[in-house]
């Protein structure tokens, strides 16, 4: 079995055994989305106008939350040192960890999103595009959140800083994701923004493992 598969399998297995850690961001996604009607208004028109933005912001924030502990437990129990010292490339291992995390937190988010979208009175025809856009965007969000997690893993109160560091970098994803969803809501083809989301995903998934590995090596000293 290749190193990537071993790492992926390990983290998936750990996720299954600590499922509460992985359910939290998902529940967070639902709760945040549900709070907005209280803050805005329960009227159909208002929610339909705000729905796209609300869903994407909520997805953004819960992705950040999900990846907070990505590297911390490994650092704390000493397995991170062993990963660094192993003959496997740390970048590849980090990439496998990001994939495992996305499978456990990003994928369920994509599946729940349509339900929340309907609660915001978004038209059912826009749902496939919404899901596809999230499918392309959540890997980028996971990658960026992983960078944030790696940068702050050496800090005691690291979790609070991740958002500040990573959120500005997520602006493009937010812009293209909401645009794709809006276009779908208005019945237009969202191919343009979707392509751009795909490009962002490819770019961030290649950058994040390298940057994260570099930051982890510094933090482990």
């Amino acid at each position: 079995m290749s190193v990537f598969t071993s790492m992926l399998e390990r983290d998936l297995r750990l996720a299954m055994r600590r499922w509460s850690e992985f359910a939290t961001p998902l529940i967070f996604f639902v709760i945040i989305s549900s709070l907005f009607p209280f803050a805005l208004s329960p009227e159909v028109a208002a929610l339909r106008a705000a729905g796209t933005g609300v869903l994407w912001i909520a997805a953004l924030l819960s992705s950040l939350l999900a990846l907070d502990g990505l590297f911390r437990t490994d650092m704390d129990d000493g397995s991170m040192e062993q990963l660094i010292l192993s003959p496997a490339s740390l970048g590849l291992l980090v990439f496998a960890k990001i994939c495992a995390h996305w499978l456990v937190s990003g994928l369920p988010l994509i599946l729940i999103a349509p339900v929340l979208a309907l609660s915001f009175y978004l038209p059912p025809e826009s749902l496939p595009t919404l899901m596809f856009a999230l499918l392309l965007a959540t890997p980028t969000l996971s990658a960026l959140a992983a960078i944030g997690a790696a940068l702050t893993v050496g800090l005691r109160s690291g979790g609070t800083l991740i958002g500040l560091l990573v959120l500005p970098l997520t602006a493009p994803v937010l812009i293209f994701g909401t645009r794709a969803t809006d276009m779908a809501v208005h019945g237009e083809s969202a191919l343009g923004p979707l392509y751009l989301l795909g490009a962002l995903a490819a770019f961030s998934l290649s950058l994040a493992p390298l940057a994260s590995a570099a930051a982890i090596r510094v933090s482990v000293e």
Partner: protein
Amino acid sequence: MGLKRTFHLLGSPPTVYRLAGLLGPWVGIGAVILIAAGTYGGLVLAPPDYLQGDGFRIIYVHVPSAYIGLMAYVLMAVAAAVGFIWHMKIAHAVAVSAAPVGASFTFLALVTGAVWGKPMWGTYWQWADARLVSELVLLFLYLGVMLLRASFDDRDKGDRVSAVLAVVGVVNVPIIHYSVEWWSTLHQGPTIAQLDTPSITMDMLVPLLTMIAGFTLCFAWLILKRVQAEILDRESRARWVEQLVTGASA
């Protein structure tokens, strides 16, 4: 041979300290002259604009500030990367110095941008202005690097981890800029006007370039001073620093 030796000299704290001390006054004087000339040219010599009247004159502060803000970030990222790869403390000292200065210029750009926009928009801020919004994001990126570094007790770790963030940031700046620009074009109503530099004529351009050059020298002077202070701080135990301090008071 010459390049390697230069590299070595640049890595030596006392050499850089003295070099910065020598260059400082010249750079500072140059900055004062250029900024004075540019200000005179911009406020007095350049004619009022056809559309914006005298209001456009703020560009003589806004444009140089925005330019410096961006350039400083690139400088910070390059210096941090050099420090990370080649373990040069001086490079990290430059990065640490560039951050607050660059952030201040970016903030100045935002404030002058707001002042510029008020007569046109009626408000001090306009989300649809892509340039201002990009500058706001740049300010956030600066704050992120500064906060991250400050959170580390170990100075060396702080330098290197914030170097990674600086590089990640600089790579993302063009992406963020173009996506924000694209986004703002989607929502441009006919009433919202971007902060547009008026069609440039020679009498407008020359003072602007002078101001940009002046601001660059001003930035350089600030960096030189800060790098000197950083070096003293980081090398406070070294003998040459002791001699410097006791020599001065002797």
